[in-house]
Subunit: 421 residues, 2 copies
Amino acid sequence: MSEHHVVVIGGGFGGLQVVNGLKGAGVKVTLIDRRNHHLFQPLLYQVATTILSTSEIAWPIRHLYADRPEVTTLLGEVNGVDAQAKTVSLRSGMVLNYDTLVLATGATHAYFGHDEWEPVAPGLKTLEDATTIRRRMLLAFERAEVESDPAARDAYLTFSIVGAGPTGVELAGIIAELAHFTLPKEFRNIDTRKTRVVLIEAGPRVLPAFAEELSAYAQKALEKLGVEVLTGTPVTQCTADGVTVGENFIPSRTIVWAAGVQASHAARWLGVPADRAGRTIVEKDLTAPGLPDVFVIGDTALVIRDDGKPVPGIAPAAKQQGGYVAKVIRARVSGKPAPGPFKYWHQGSLATIGKSAAIIDFGRFKLKGWIAWWIWGLAHIYFLIGTRSRFAVAWNWFWIYMSGQHSARLITQRETMRDDG
Amino acid sequence: MSEHHVVVIGGGFGGLQVVNGLKGAGVKVTLIDRRNHHLFQPLLYQVATTILSTSEIAWPIRHLYADRPEVTTLLGEVNGVDAQAKTVSLRSGMVLNYDTLVLATGATHAYFGHDEWEPVAPGLKTLEDATTIRRRMLLAFERAEVESDPAARDAYLTFSIVGAGPTGVELAGIIAELAHFTLPKEFRNIDTRKTRVVLIEAGPRVLPAFAEELSAYAQKALEKLGVEVLTGTPVTQCTADGVTVGENFIPSRTIVWAAGVQASHAARWLGVPADRAGRTIVEKDLTAPGLPDVFVIGDTALVIRDDGKPVPGIAPAAKQQGGYVAKVIRARVSGKPAPGPFKYWHQGSLATIGKSAAIIDFGRFKLKGWIAWWIWGLAHIYFLIGTRSRFAVAWNWFWIYMSGQHSARLITQRETMRDDG
């Protein structure tokens, strides 16, 4: 009898947890991702805002499994799945047979039918997205410095963030701090303290996943940092010159999109039903409907809890799903009874506002202020992979606390170089 | 009387030293660079070879002069100089008047009349160059892992470095260590220990700027790491498939160019004589011929020493020239006698081979082995800017020593992403 082959697509939180959970299970594992690295997305906004370097929150996937000879890592992109033949085809032409398939391919930004906004309002999902936002933000200050027309200068000094979930709130807080505290002494022609940071939310309040009192606290903390918060106002247009909110046009040369996500193509590959956001509607054991050998987890799956609410698209949920799937596979290959249906345990919601405020919503128990900030910081350092990254991130945060100076303020990539360079 | 205005073009080692030396001189300074950061080029090869992150060896220029209100930093690219009108024009259309101009615009790669080789054999001058080389090198291993044709696989596992100066030697040493010690356990289909690293030098020996005995030692150290050293053999062709050395074609999918440099356009802007490498032939006080208010320093200047040899294009030489120019300017504005002609003091030549050997040539006094490595390491940490970077680089080196694991093994930039990503 040949070894059971598990193919895992996607090296995010969910996919890695499946591979981790299969250690010693006696199965062969192939892990495929189109990037060579696992990314710690919860801190990606800190790369975009010049606090952390790319290598501090990303790890080469194949390094993580160097000591697991039964795990093969492939850099590749999935083209399609043939669930009848039980094969996965890659864009390179390679075809892999699987006994069990796990799709953990995540999600990307959604522009709600306005994909034409993407070039002017980039989202934040990859390391390149983060360095793109960083470059645009830093270049806006540089261009303001040499701009003589006051209206054009103000447009460079206006940063709009669309969407007030955790990412939008975190970006707005750090950009405001950067403009108001870190940069003022470095420019001669502009006063960066006059920078406008506008956080735009279509819903009635910031951080809608949190309790109302925490949303209210977060909004006050943002306003204290100088962020203008607009709630209940959908964005109706984004251009290179600015953003239209309801009827109002805000001249703004830098727009960041933090408003919505669209699941990856898992449902389409499988030919199974998806919700409006493209998420595969999975069974109680996280398999795709009618395909007991195919699991779909993380941001690309829609899992409904007993109370009728969906499991949120956050890292702890993806990890719990990955761990559960590993258990199901272990039970199957060893002929033991399968575990019961997947149960999501919500450990709490966390968000930070700048470098001294945070909120934590544990449900019954709520926390805000600097104690919440410390818990947030320690939790994130704990969940990083490896001593080196934990140390490097902790050191950067400590340094920024002590000096106020961000370390990763580099404008890179071709756009800034001379044509022949 | 209006303030004396010094315009410095280029935020490399030379340009920064001019600005540093003008502290308290009562002059207005404008520092222009087409990048927003100063780059510590001597360690750039460590970014290319996954040891360091970009932000560890680069600093935002305007941050360095935050506390010098008389210094204005501009992100911009010079289009031309009008030495009669005493103006500098930027590509953006801005025109600046100067009383004194310092051109410290550096050098770029030279392909000796074969610019068509550049796309297949990138050089190493900017952060983008470093991440490009890093991406190509890491992708070559990834592609080898999924390549079924043995000859094609071998071509992916052959890395050619053209030019055996310090950069070429350093790159070859680290790539060999990476392939032979760091990566073997992470791949399932290839044996990265069979990687070929070929170092090609047209001249008779590696590191020609060093004493012969040190060159011989370096070559032995390279060969011990598994590097194939070809000397006395010029490259006659570079293509995407490999490099031709004399009559021999070496199939090699990754080529790095470390063979020659070409000075920037300073001489052309000024309309003054240049040598074959494009370097402005300057006067004994580092001014351009016939233009006493224009200084040219660093890699873009040719300075002949009393013994007839040119000052080498290295960081300490640029810094000495920058310091000298600041002194001349201070003397002029305060009406004191100008200092005598510029004298270059050669402090020594340093190079490393992998992570345990180095050579230092102080002239009469020569050093090799691990003591040289430690001196090299401490010297480089000392010359980094600021506590944060010193600490971060030292920590990375310590970590690699203890674990053998490189931290910055990330493939980034668009080439690796899916089309719609």
